[in-house]
């Protein structure tokens, strides 16, 4: 339930249940002791700061976790409720729980609410692709769609899907972070980022459904491989003119995305039966584009052929005359 962070590279993170309270930053080394459950956390460093709180890396004994500290108890509790509900639904899958503890602590005479969650390692998709190359799109997308399928099957829509919230580590393994925007299907999306939002591109409603996530998923690849042109486009178009076709033009002129143009078009238009089908087609689209790359004869080979043919002819001509 965060949002509207002023400034930054992604300026338009929009939405709603945010406080306008001033930022509070605690020093590394601060020990946070829970008022109700008595757990002790030592803050190591800041992982991120949103409009309704900060996330710290914290150590508890020898293990680490992420600790979100806010100012508005009801708001943080709302996020913790979503995580708890997700954990409840996913217990059978053998996935470790996300939410570890919900509590308050005293700081400068006031009670600050916090919750702790599993620490997720990794870097955002865009940075990962820059470091390891565009060939990872297939694997990362596959794992991400798999995760989304799980959420959708449990009745949730992630909704604030974007570069910053998709962390990649160890050979394209993907974890979603910031579940604060997660919305039950059929409800209004509360947290979104303009450029990833279906409504912003006049491509549909803000009612949470699986297709809302597919749309953001497609924009994610534009952002990850072609951020500059994406932002330029969003700035240059009038709101009433913005549409899916604008995004498709970017995709068609992007050599990295062109091979999966058809898939991305279906994602933007919400044309899959469900997320499993989207995943199946994603896989097929990437296999097909790999095969296309393999069967294509490189230009230098063609060049050599022409050159050698010309050489033969010249030599033949010289020998004959």
């Amino acid at each position: 339930m965060t949002s509207c962070r002023p400034g930054g590279a992604m300026p338009a993170r929009c939405a709603v249940t945010t406080s306008f309270k001033p930022e509070l930053l605690l020093q590394p080394g601060t020990v946070v002791t829970g008022k109700w459950n008595g757990k002790k956390y030592k803050l190591e460093r800041v992982l991120g700061a949103g409009a309704n709180g900060q996330v710290y890396l914290a150590s508890v004994g020898r293990s680490v976790c992420a600790l979100k500290i806010g100012t508005e108890a009801a708001e943080l509790q709302g996020e913790a409720n979503v995580l708890a509900s997700l954990d409840g639904k996913e217990r059978g899958r053998g996935r470790p729980p996300f939410l570890l503890d919900v509590d308050d602590f005293q700081f400068n005479g006031r009670a600050l609410p916090f919750y702790s969650m599993r620490y997720v390692p990794g870097i955002p998709v865009r940075s990962y692709l820059r470091r390891h190359g565009g060939q990872w799109v297939g694997v990362i997308g596959h794992r991400l769609l798999e995760r989304l399928a799980e959420l959708h099957e449990a009745g949730w829509v992630f909704s604030d899907l974007k570069n910053d919230n998709v962390l990649v580590h160890d050979y394209g393994r993907v974890e979603l972070v910031d579940y604060g925007g997660m919305t039950a299907m059929g409800r209004a999306v509360r947290q979104f980022t303009e450029i990833y939002d279906r409504g912003y591109w006049s491509a549909g409603s803000r009612t949470a459904d699986a297709a809302y996530d597919w749309f953001a998923f497609a924009v994610l690849w534009l952002h990850a491989t072609d951020a500059k042109r994406l932002f330029q486009l969003s700035r240059s178009r009038l709101p009433q003119d913005r549409g899916i076709e604008d995004l498709m033009k970017l995709i068609r002129s992007n050599p990295k995305l062109r091979p999966i143009e058809q898939w991305l078009g279906k994602a933007l238009r919400g044309q899959f039966r469900d997320t499993r089908e989207a995943l199946k087609e994603w896989r097929a689209a990437h296999r097909a584009s790999d095969a296309a790359v393999r069967s294509r004869i490189p230009a230098w080979m063609t060049g050599m052929l022409v050159f050698s043919a010309a050489l033969c002819l010249t030599l033949a001509a010289l020998w004959l005359f």
Partner: protein, 250 residues
């Protein structure tokens, strides 16, 4: 829940004080939020103070932003005001029943239950927002951004489970005898919004106070009695909220 959202870029200069008008709205159960839009220069100390005071008197919040931030600011305020109204009602109830000063004073497991109910209310309660747009001459270049923000808000509200509608007024009114003019009556969907400010002729005066009062009249006439509405908004079976049993009172 009823809200007036005022979008302006300067001081009022005609009629009643907008601060008392906002206080009157709040006394009738209507929260007043204010956005000051400035693109170049500043809104001036006087304007900033007035905006802040209108929001305080109107039980809402205020922000001064550039027109690029308008859409998200409008949405955030609307949503936060809904959440704030619910929080206030719940806190009041907790105070009355248990002498606790807020939800934060409950132990985490009880808090989880109460917040679940609060989130449910936030999504399902009925919501009416009157957008009151300053159309004085200096606002002219910002009106397209205002229109976009209104459409974007309507799109978000349309997705809510609870019945939601917006109405749009601009002020000063066209014919001089009314402080503001209706651009769009209550509408539930973004597609139902007409082109809003295409034919507007911007004028010099800024009767903010009278315009707020006219918006209050409009809400009273079209939405019935406002205060008693809490009884309908809040679900009667509240067993899942733990000990919170009686009706919330605003």
């Amino acid at each position: 829940m009823k809200q007036i959202l005022l979008i302006t870029d300067g001081c009022s200069n005609v009629g009643e004080s907008p601060v008392t008008a906002a206080a009157q709205a709040w006394a009738e159960g209507i929260a007043v939020n204010v956005v000051g839009v400035v693109d170049e220069g500043s809104i001036g100390e006087l304007g900033a103070r007035e905006i802040d005071e209108i929001a305080r008197a109107g039980g809402g919040m205020s922000r001064i932003v550039g027109s690029r931030q308008l859409s998200r600011t409008v949405q955030m305020m609307t949503r936060m005001t809904v959440a704030g109204t619910i929080r206030q009602a719940v806190n009041h109830e907790l105070q009355q029943l248990f002498g606790l000063d807020s939800v934060g004073a409950l132990p985490p497991d009880k808090r989880a239950e109460v917040v679940r109910v609060m989130d449910e209310l936030e999504e399902t309660s009925e919501l009416r927002v009157v957008l009151l747009i300053d159309a004085s001459a200096s606002m002219k270049p910002k009106l397209s951004a205002v229109e976009e923000a209104i459409r974007d808000l309507a799109l978000s509200l349309e997705a809510r489970t609870g019945s939601s509608a917006v109405a749009v007024f601009h002020y000063p009114g066209e014919y001089g005898h009314l402080p503001c003019a209706l651009d769009c009556d209550w509408t539930r969907d973004a597609a139902g919004l007409p082109a809003l400010f295409a034919r507007i002729r911007t004028k010099g005066t800024t009767p903010t106070g009278p315009a707020i009062l006219q918006a209050v009249d409009f809400i009273r006439q079209t939405c019935g009695k406002i205060k008693e509405e809490w009884d309908d908004i809040l679900p009667s079976g509240r067993g899942d909220a733990g000990e919170v049993r009686s009706d919330y009172v605003v």
